[in-house]
Amino acid sequence: MTVIETVPADSEDTRGSSLPRYLALKAGGSLISLALVVVLGFFMFRIMPGDPAINMTRGRQVSPGEVERLRKEMGLDQPLLVQFWRFVRDLFTGDLGTSYVYRRPVTELIGDYVGPTLLLTGTAALISVALGLWLGQKAAWRRGSWFDKIHTGVALVFWSVPTFWLGLLLLLIFGGGLGWFPTGGMSTAASTDTGVAHVLDVAHHLVLPVTTMVAVIYAQYLMVMRASVLEEMSADYLTTARAKGLREDLVRTRHAVPNALLPTVTLIFLTLGLLIAGTVTVETVFSWPGLGYLTYKGLSAPDFPLVQGTFVVFSAAVIIMNFIADLLYRVLDPRLKAS
C-alpha cells in the first residue's frame, strides 16, 4: 500500500501530519503535476496547425530538399514518440532544446526574457497585494460606508475591464497624449545611462504597465481581504480587545487583520504563479521584453521547443507557488501544527 493511497495529498490530515511527511507529500504532488504538464505540453502543441519547416521557409526560394533538411535538423522527421523521448531525456539534463526561429538554446532565451517578466509581475503583485489588502480591511471595517461602496465598486469595475483596452487607454493618454511616460520597452533605446539613472529610466518605463496590471488584479485581494475581515468582525476576541480599551484602529490592525490574513496569503501565492503566465497582454501592449511575448511569438511559428519551454516555466511557476502556499499556510496557522 503506497503512502499516497493511505493519505490523500489534499486531505486535512496531511496538514496535521509531521512536517517531513507533509513536505514529502506536497512535493510529490507537485512533481506529479509537473510531469503531467510536460506530457500535456508536448502533445498539445503538436496538435496545432502549421508545419514549422514550411512556415519558416515561406516566401523564400527553397527547394523541397532544403525543407526536408530543415525538418531533419529540427528532429521533426522522427516519429512523435521518439521526439517525446528526446524531449524528456533532454529535460532531465536541463536542456529545453534549441529554438527553431531564434536558433538559440531555449534556456538561454528564457534567461534573457524572464528577468523583465519577473520585474513587471513582481512590482505589480507587490503593489496590488498591498493596495488590495489595505483597502479590503478598511472597507470591511467600514462596511456599508461610502469608502466601502466606492472602493469595492471601483475595484470591480477595473477587474471587469479588458486588460488590453485599459493598457491602450493609458498609453494613449499618458504616453502619446501627455508624453509623461514612455510608450513601450523597458528602457530608453540606445541610452547609455548606468547606475541610478538607468534604474530611474526603468522605473519610468514600468509605471504604465504596472499601473495597468495593478488596476486589473488588485480587486481580487481587496474582495478576499474584505470578506475575511468581515468574518472576523463578530469574533469574541475583538470584544475583549475593545473591553481592554484599545482604539478601533488598533483592534483592527492588531487583532482582526492578522487572523483575516490567513486565507488571503494562500490566495496571494496561488495568483502569483498565474500572474507570470498572464502577462502576455500587458507585455504586448507595452512592448515589454518578457516571457509572455516570447511565448506568443513561439506559437505563431510554431516553434515547438520554445513554446514547450515557456509552458514548462509558466506551469512550474504556478505549481511552485501552490506548493509555497501550502507550506506557508501551515507555518502561519499554528492550529495546523498542533492538530
Partner: protein
C-alpha cells in the same frame, strides 16, 4: 486631541501632496524625445522579430532588412531596384551566359579599415555552397553556381551550371573573411561590434528591445549624414504611433489605414504612402494537379471551365475595392508584378485587363449554358450549382471586407459564395493541398521576377500530400513554362522585360489569379528631426523595407534652428517626484502612528 492633530496633519499633507503633483503635472515634461542632432541616431520603430544577424542563417524579414545596411552584396540594387554597384562596380557575362566576371575596385574597405578583396567574396560563396549549415538563408540562390574563384584580389569569376538572367552577384551578403574564418560561421551571432561593408554596422543588440547601428566611416559611397540607426522594438503598432507623436521614435512603417488617418495634421509628423511591392489577388482553383499529374484537393469542378473563371474576373470591381476597402491607399492590380518594378510592370502587347462588367459576365455564363435556377444560382443542366467557397485570413480585416463586396457582385451574376475566414496556417495548408475554390493570396516580390514566375511552372506543383514544391495556383501550362524558360535565360535586359511581361500575361489570361491591388506601405516620420530620406523607387517609393539601404542612408538631421525641442524636464521627473511625494506622506503617516500608539501605550 489626538484626533484633532491627526486630521490637521492629514489636511496639511494632502495640501502638500496636491501642490507637488500639480506642479509636476503643470511642468512641461518631455519624454526622451530628441531634437535634431547629428550625434543622435534615427530611431526606427521595429515590429517584427529578429532571429539572428548571422547573414548565413538569418531568414526573418527584420533581420535581413537590417543586414542590408551592414553588408553589401557583390551587386546591389539602385534607386529603382535595378542592378547597381555593390562590392563590385562592374561585371561581364560570357556569351554562353555561364561565366560571370566581377571587378572589385581598390577603394572598397570594411568598416575596420581592411580592404575588401575577391577572397572575401569567394569565401562567402564557397562557404554557402559547401556547408549545409550555412545554406539556411541563401542556399536557394547558389544551386546553379558551380564554382566561385578569386583570380586576383580585385576579380571574382563565377561559373554557373546553366545560363541565367538573374544576376548571381545579388542578394548574398558578403562577409569579411578575416573575421568569419576565426569563428564557427554557423553559430557566430555577429550582433555586436560588427565589421561590415554597408553604410551602418551593428554596435549592440538587446534581445527583444533594440538594435543599435553606427555609421560606417569607410562606406564606399561616403559616410552617412546621421550618426546611426536605433531600431526600437514595439509589439503593437498603436504604441508605435503614440511613440511617434511623443517623439520617442523618428519613423515608423506598417501603419494601418486608420492609424495613418489618425496622424493627419499631427504636428511635426509627415505621412508617406509609397509605391508597394506586394500584390493582393483572388486565386481560383482551376482543378489542382499534383507533381505526378494526378488531381488533388476538392475544388469545385465547375471552375475547370475558363469561362466561369473569366466571369469571376469580370465580377470583381477593383476600383471600388481599392477605394472602399483600402481607402485608396494602393494601386489597381494588373499582373502579379507590382507597380514598384516599372521594368516588368504591366501587360505584354496584345494582352489587356478584363474589365468589370456584370452584364457581360451574365451574358458569358448564359451563352455557355449556365442557367439561373429559382434561387438565382446558375448551373449547367448536368452540373452542380455555381456555389463556391471563398477562403481568407482571419488576421486580415481587408479579406472579410472584400468578401462582402464579392458576395454581392457574384450574386448578381448567379454565383453563390460561402465565405470563411480562417487562420493563416489553415489558408496555407488548404491552398497547398488544393482544398479551396477561391482564396485571397498575395506575395511580396523581390526586384527580379524569376522566383515569382518559377512558382507557377509545372515543376512547382507539390506532391500529393502537399510536401515538396510550392505552387501559387496549382496550375500548369506548357505555354507558360516555355515563356518562363525564355526569360530565365535571356541576358538582354530589354528583351527579358518583354518576355517577363509575356509570361505574366499568360498567367493572367488563364484566369487563375486576379491581382486586385498593390497596397501602399504606410509610413510616417518626424519631419522636425530628420529629412532627406531616399525613396525606392526614386519616384514615389518607400523609405523603409526597401531592397536597398537608400531610405536611411540618405537621411540627414534637420537643422537645429528649425527643430522643436521643448526643453522640458527629463522624463524621469514624474515617477521620481511621485515617489518622493509618496515617501514623504508615508513617512509622515508612520511618524504620526508611532506617536499615537505611543500615546496608547502611555
Amino acid at each position: 486631541m489626538i484626533t484633532t492633530s491627526r486630521s490637521r496633519l492629514w489636511r496639511s499633507l494632502t495640501g502638500v501632496a496636491t501642490a507637488a503633483l500639480l506642479s509636476l503635472a503643470g511642468a512641461t515634461v518631455s519624454t526622451p524625445a530628441h531634437a535634431a542632432d547629428a550625434s543622435k541616431p534615427i530611431k526606427v520603430a521595429m515590429f517584427n522579430d529578429v532571429d539572428t544577424f548571422n547573414p548565413f542563417t538569418a531568414v526573418l524579414l527584420q533581420s535581413t532588412g537590417i543586414n542590408r545596411y551592414q553588408y553589401e552584396a557583390l551587386v546591389g540594387y539602385g534607386r529603382n531596384s535595378e542592378p547597381d554597384a555593390g562590392i563590385a562596380d562592374k561585371w561581364e557575362t560570357s556569351e554562353d551566359g555561364k561565366t560571370w566576371t566581377f571587378h572589385i575596385p581598390g577603394d572598397r574597405k570594411w568598416s575596420d579599415g581592411k580592404a575588401i578583396t575577391a577572397d572575401d567574396v569567394a569565401y562567402t560563396y564557397t562557404s554557402i555552397i559547401e556547408t549545409t549549415a550555412l545554406q539556411a538563408a541563401n542556399g536557394g540562390l547558389v544551386t546553379n553556381i558551380a564554382d566561385v574563384k578569386a583570380t586576383d584580389p580585385q576579380t571574382v569569376v563565377m561559373t554557373l551550371k546553366s545560363a541565367q538572367a538573374p544576376n548571381p552577384g545579388q542578394e548574398i551578403p558578403i562577409v569579411p573573411k578575416h573575421i568569419w574564418d576565426k569563428e564557427d560561421a554557423a553559430k557566430f551571432a555577429a550582433d555586436k561590434d560588427v565589421v561590415g561593408s554597408g553604410p551602418f554596422t551593428i554596435t549592440t543588440f538587446k534581445t527583444g528591445q533594440s538594435v543599435s547601428l553606427k555609421a560606417n566611416p569607410n562606406f564606399w559611397r561616403g559616410k552617412p549624414k546621421v550618426s546611426g540607426i536605433t531600431y526600437v522594438a514595439y509589439k503593437n503598432s498603436d504604441a508605435a504611433v503614440q511613440a511617434l507623436k511623443s517623439g520617442e521614435v523618428d519613423i515608423a512603417d506598417g501603419l494601418t489605414p486608420a492609424q495613418y488617418d489618425s496622424l493627419k495634421g499631427a504636428k511635426n509628423i509627415t505621412r508617406h504612402a509609397g509605391i508597394g511591392r506586394r500584390y493582393q489577388a483572388l486565386a481560383i482553383n482551376p482543378g489542382a494537379i499534383d507533381i505526378d499529374g494526378k488531381p488533388m484537393g476538392d475544388g469545385n469542378p465547375a471552375l475547370k471551365d475558363p469561362i466561369v473563371r473569366k466571369a469571376i474576373f469580370m465580377a470583381v470591381d477593383k476600383k471600388t475595392l481599392l477605394d472602399r476597402v483600402l481607402q485608396g491607399l494602393g494601386d489597381e492590380g494588373e499582373t502579379e508584378v507590382p507597380k514598384s518594378y516599372a521594368n516588368y510592370f504591366g501587360f505584354a502587347d496584345g494582352h489587356e485587363a478584363v474589365p468589370f462588367d456584370l452584364d457581360a459576365a451574365n451574358k458569358l455564363l448564359e451563352d455557355a449554358g449556365y442557367k439561373k435556377g429559382p434561387d438565382g444560382i446558375r448551373k449547367k443542366e448536368d452540373g452542380k450549382p455555381l456555389r463556391f467557397r471563398l477562403m481568407g485570413r482571419n488576421t486580415e480585416p481587408a479579406h472579410a471586407q472584400m468578401a462582402d463586396f464579392l458576395t454581392s457582385w457574384f450574386k448578381d451574376i448567379g454565383i453563390g459564395l460561402d465565405v470563411s475566414m480562417v487562420t493563416p496556417d489553415k489558408v496555407n495548408e488548404d491552398s497547398t493541398l488544393g482544398k479551396y475554390d477561391l482564396y485571397f493570396t498575395g506575395w511580396s516580390l523581390g526586384p527580379d521576377p524569376d522566383n515569382q514566375l518559377a512558382m507557377n511552372t509545372c515543376a512547382s506543383r507539390p506532391n500529393a500530400d502537399g510536401s515538396g514544391n510550392t505552387s501559387e495556383n496549382n496550375w500548369c501550362s506548357p505555354e507558360f513554362d516555355a515563356a518562363f524558360k525564355a526569360q530565365h535565360a535571356e541576358l538582354d535586359e530589354a528583351k527579358r522585360q518583354e518576355l517577363v511581361k509575356k509570361a505574366f500575361s499568360i498567367l493572367y489570361d488563364a484566369y487563375v489569379s486576379d491581382p486586385i491591388w498593390y497596397i501602399k506601405p504606410l509610413e510616417a516620420y518626424r519631419s522636425d528631426h530628420f529629412t532627406g530620406f531616399g525613396l525606392q523607387p526614386e519616384k514615389g517609393g518607400v523609405i523603409l523595407n526597401q531592397n536597398g539601404y537608400w531610405g536611411l542612408y540618405g537621411a540627414k538631421p534637420v537643422s537645429s534652428d528649425s527643430s522643436s525641442d521643448d526643453g522640458g524636464l527629463p522624463g524621469w521627473v514624474i515617477p521620481v517626484g511621485a515617489i518622493v511625494v509618496l515617501a514623504a506622506i508615508g513617512g509622515a503617516v508612520v511618524a504620526s502612528r508611532r506617536r499615537s500608539t505611543g500615546e496608547d501605550r502611555e
